[in-house]
Symmetry: C2
Subunit: 125 residues, 2 copies
Amino acid sequence: MGKTEMICDCDIIHKDIVDSVRNKLIDEDVLLSMADFYKILSDSTRIKIINVLYEAELCVCDISVLLNMTKSAISHQLRNLREMNLVRARKQGKEVYYSLSDDHIRKVFDMTREHIEERANETEC
Amino acid sequence: MGKTEMICDCDIIHKDIVDSVRNKLIDEDVLLSMADFYKILSDSTRIKIINVLYEAELCVCDISVLLNMTKSAISHQLRNLREMNLVRARKQGKEVYYSLSDDHIRKVFDMTREHIEERANETEC
DNA sequence: TTGACAATTGAACAGCTATTCAACTATACT
DNA sequence: AGTATAGTTGAATAGCTGTTCAATTGTCAA
């Protein structure tokens, strides 16, 4: 019964609990998308870009100065953020201005920030 | 004035905007902690572990069966999750039972899930 | 048209990380 | 004590990813 191939070599599996949990699991595609969503925010350069765009619409040049990184490095990461629909681009003359694509990312950002700063206070003791 | 070393080679920097943004930026340590927080959730195996522990306290064996992965792989990732205080371990006899360490991770998980599923609906058209 | 510059792109490289494998620890049972 | 099993650990490997560098595109101005 169950999987044809069992990688695990255990005897003590709590069959009833395992079966119960299995029925409640989230669809794997959704889980993978969630992981991808977190992944895009898990890089220090990208989170810094989100942070500066949180405050204003900026061109690649401005972001480069604020982060003290090359335009190339910034441009590569902006591409990733754009592909995940976290930022949008607006071209005006030679420059391209970037901004956060919607308010959802702001909420996620705020929430995580609060979480981190709470944790920082907790560990003070 | 400004940084001693300028990596960026731009001329058109919007000095007023850049200065204004710079004053509002979040402390770098907090940003790095936020990135680390996202990083721990950005792996498919870890997010699956969170998902199963969301439903019940489980031993390593149970998790291995549910994810169809070796105990070693699961154990390595549980270690990462433990170090980030996302899960806690309770030893009972030979087995070690894992559970989510608090409700905060549940809220973050729920929120992201909603976000992903909304996005999935939007892109249906 | 020519020159200058903002921005993008692709290839290469270096650093990181998840899984595998084997060895090991700890606990329970006989 | 001896055996079996749950779980952990460290080293090695393979795959992924962020930055750099050089080349290129697109736009503006003379």
